[in-house]
Amino acid sequence: MTTQTRPSGDEETGTSSRPWTAVLAERVPVRRIILVALGIFITVGVVLGSFKTLTLQEGRISAAGWRDFLIAGIALGSIYALIALGYSLVYGILLMINFAHGEVFMMGAFASFYVAESLDSAGMLDRNPVLSILILLVTATIASMAVAVLLERVAYRPLRNAPRLVPLITAIGASLFLQYSAASLFGSNSKGYPDIAALDGEWKILGIPIAKVLVVTIVTAAVMMAALTWFITRTRTGKAMRAVAEDKEIASLMGINVNRVIVTTFAVGGFLAGVAGVMFALVFGLVQYNMGFIPGIKAFTAAVLGGIGSVTGAAVGALILGVVESVAPVLLLSGFHVPAPNQLRDVVAFSILVLVLIFRPGGIFGSGEPERG
């Protein structure tokens, strides 16, 4: 790669007869040049943008402002983490992207919405908020698990040995189908989630005021992730899941019912998505048929960022994504006087997805080797 001229051994390798453009195309590492240029461009942009924003003369954001961005980012990240785990678990076992996982999350949120409405009209939400939230979680998880398991049975199991793109295409179809089923069955307008009075206001934690609903979200997510880690590392089923992820055939030779493990995996992913659905609805206060799509893709981004297939990776990736998405648009763009930088938060998230897949497809906790084949 040190020289652009033809090496002298051309006659031996038989390239001398080829047109010079072909030779040039091989000699110039176009891909690498684009990558390096992209890397430099992004680094310069990030550094310059943050510097300009932080030294902004007017409209500078106070420390408390940044802190709020950070906390909102962590809360959002913990919701993403719960969804991302579902992607990661399924990918770990089936090596397929369950594109419809965002819709599993949405269905959980919808189920809990109807229960929440009933509880609200019965006055339960105010009288006994803790029990109410538990009931909401139970309904949402049951609904999400049912959808996830059904999805596996109808759309994925018949195609388990098909080429890899085939289940991805059905997954896209399933995503579309579930989204617009919800739109037709429940109506396409967004529905206001009943307010839980006990979650209004703030708690002071270590002197920092944090909205109660965000605290509940972060704590719930943390508990769920701890429980999942316990489930995977300590239980017999968890062991079976790891074995199937390692090698399906050998696992089945060892007497593991692979089908059952796969169904369990989908159910566990659905369970976490259901919890995420309730949290999301509580934080943002509404449910809508398409609420699962963008969070779904972002959670997938988080899973890829952390290293898909890894539980810790999904959690860490989601937290990073949540924080970056919440902080980065303002931090990087307001210095350049870009109007309404928050419009571009999705761009930030998707750019991270693209960049991770380009530079480090294995993710943070992965091998770092670009996958191919």
Binding site: L159, G173, S184, F186, T301, P339, V347, F350, L353
Partner: protein
């Protein structure tokens, strides 16, 4: 086939059919589709939706089992009872659902499932109210299930014409907005065929269509097919080319007069079909030929549209409502701008493709999805408002006029689209049969093997992205000049997925497939308004069903077909294994005779 096995199969088919019927009822399809008459007022689209689940489950319940690569014979009594049982279960499940709605307090179900209206219950109980209607529903299901099961017992020489006759009648009924004006313009009185008040086929008309199509099928299979082959097969290649050319000319002539005959509303639908056909052709190159799943295809559509507007001249609306020129605008002639747009979009394709080339298939899909979403957010953002008009989009895009002859009206626009489509089809055909096309299919089937055979995968992948982008951007170009304005909300991920559904449904890599896919997925909803609301729902279901049941698509690519057929032998082997495992009661040899 042992009775218990058949019963289990029937119960299963019945439960699935029942779930399907309850589902279509809950989504509101039954009620909305009920206003579309197909045959007189005797069969509406809603009736059809109620009739299909029991009919199909009866048909599925009597599915003959394949043992040892051979079909088991179906006992007539078994088929009758299985069909009857499964159909009755479909009716029973639905009746139970209706009863549940009636038993629960008023409005309890409707609070969640908003489409459960008294009208829907009325349709489902045939207007007879609860106790009587429910019995009728079960009986109705049983009779249709019986018909579905009984269809299996017909010998092929009867079943085929009946099936084709029914399908043709249904097609005629569904195309009720196309045929009457077409025939009327041709000087035919169609009142005896299509009812002017109910819009659908008249009952004598439907019978006639059925009789003629079934009769023609019989004639074709007994005489015509052999006769045509006898005439055509010995023809030398050059003469056969002449025959093909004549067929092509007839189709071309039909397409040229079509917009004049069907009027401007339907021409608009055709224009829409053309725009999506172009996108489908472009994506077909990327997905079908090269096997790269691109979910961000809308990015090229958007690039094409915005570049066309900026190159030929357009205005944007400011926040206070003034019309101003975007920050960058050229005033080129449309036909000069198009090659420029193609070149730039192809370059964008390469730029998007280059960094992601080494990713594995499903990751590539997600990254391109990310690109598509980035494109959507960017065109809508305030940041690029100077160029793209932000959320308000662009207006007053210069028309693609040639010497004062404008293309903005639906009928002239159709001709413009037609020219572009013919060009794109020509390019696609030539590419498929070229060295490049062969390199692509080698790459698609086995990348490592292709590389080992000296195919530069980098080069051909980039070429696929560039060609796909170049063809796809034409649809954006046409979109921009069609109504002369670009709405920023037109570039969602749903466009990418719609185009993907078109390519998948038709058959990856098959140009007739793309045409059929576009006609079905864009044309049909354009003709029947009630489909519009359920369009995306149906696309989703179609994607799943086609992948599970017929992964090669409706009109498969010939070469792909051959590849799939080679697998058939292996599949028989697999089936045999499955049978031996699942049914230990059946001896493999016992059911082999058929």
């Amino acid at each position: 086939m042992p009775g218990s096995q058949l019963t289990r199969q029937a119960v299963r088919a019945g439960l699935i059919g029942g779930a399907a019927l309850v589902y279509v009822a809950l989504t509101g399809m039954v009620e909305k589709f009920d206003s579309r008459n197909l045959i007189g007022s005797f069969l509406t689209l809603g009736n059809l939706l109620i009739a299909l689940p029991p009919l199909l489950s009866g048909y599925l319940a009597t599915r003959p089992r394949v043992v040892g690569g051979q079909r088991e014979a179906l006992a007539p009594r078994g088929a009758v009872t299985a069909g009857l049982l499964s159909g009755a279960i479909v009716g029973g499940v639905t009746a139970a659902g209706v009863a549940l709605v009636e038993l629960l307090p008023e409005g309890a179900v409707r609070r969640i499932f908003i489409q459960v209206s008294p009208e829907l219950l009325n349709i489902l109980t045939f207007g007879r109210g609860v106790p009587v209607g429910l019995v009728l529903l079960v009986l109705y299901g049983a009779v249709l299930g019986l018909l579905g099961g009984g269809f299996r017992l017909l010998p092929a020489r009867i079943a085929q014409p009946v099936g084709i006759g029914l399908a043709t009648t249904l097609t005629f009924a569904l195309l009720q907005r196309i045929f009457p004006p077409l025939l009327f313009e041709l000087g035919l009185d169609t009142r005896w065929l299509y009812s002017p008040i109910l819009l659908g086929l008249t009952i004598p008309g439907a019978l006639l269509v059925f009789a003629v199509s079934a009769g023609l099928t019989v004639l074709w299979s007994t005489r015509g097919s052999a006769a045509v082959h006898k005439r055509l097969d010995p023809l030398p290649p050059e003469r056969r080319r002449v025959v093909n050319a004549i067929i092509a000319l007839v189709i071309a002539a039909a397409l040229l007069v079509l917009p004049q005959l069907i009027g401007s509303t339907l021409s608009q639908v055709l224009g829409q079909v053309g725009v999506f056909l172009l996108m489908g052709l472009g994506l077909n190159i990327v997905v079908g030929y090269a096997g790269l799943l691109d979910l961000g295809y809308v990015a090229f559509f958007a690039t094409g549209a915005y570049l066309t507007a900026l190159f030929t001249g357009a205005n944007r609306v400011t926040s206070i409502g003034d019309l101003v020129a975007p920050a960058f605008v050229l005033h080129l002639n449309f036909y000069l701008a198009v090659p420029l747009v193609i070149a730039v979009t192809a370059m964008v394709g390469v730029l998007i493709g280059a960094p992601v080339l080494r990713l594995r298939g499903d990751y590539l899909a997600i990254v391109t999805l990310g690109f598509g979403e980035i494109a959507r957010v960017l065109v809508q953002s305030s940041w690029l408002q100077e160029f793209t008009g932000g959320p308000q989009g662009l207006r007053d895009v210069t028309d693609a006029a040639i010497g004062g002859f404008g293309f903005r009206d639906p009928q002239p626009f159709f001709y413009l689209v037609l020219v572009f489509c013919v060009l794109a089809i020509f390019v696609s055909l030539r590419l498929a049969n070229s060295r490049v096309g062969r390199a692509w299919s080698a790459m698609r089937e086995d990348e490592l093997a292709a590389e080992a055979m000296g195919v530069s995968t980098t080069k051909y992948k980039l070429l696929a992205f560039a060609m796909g982008a170049a063809v796809g951007c034409l649809s954006g170009t046409l979109f921009a000049v069609q109504i002369g304005s670009i709405a920023s909300g037109s570039f969602t991920i749903l466009v990418s997925i719609t185009v993907l559904a078109i390519v998948i449904l038709g058959g990856m890599g098959s140009i007739p497939g793309v045409v059929v896919g576009t006609l079905l997925l864009i044309g049909l909803p354009g003709l029947l308004d009630e489909f519009e609301e359920y369009r995306l729902l149906i696309y989703g279901a179609a994607l799943i069903m086609i992948m599970v049941l017929r992964p090669q698509g409706l009109v498969p690519n010939v070469r792909r077909m051959r590849e799939l057929q080679e697998e058939e032998t292996a599949q028989d082997q697999w089936l045999k294994q499955e049978e031996a495992e699942s049914a230990s009661a059946i001896t493999v040899g016992g059911g082999g005779a058929s």
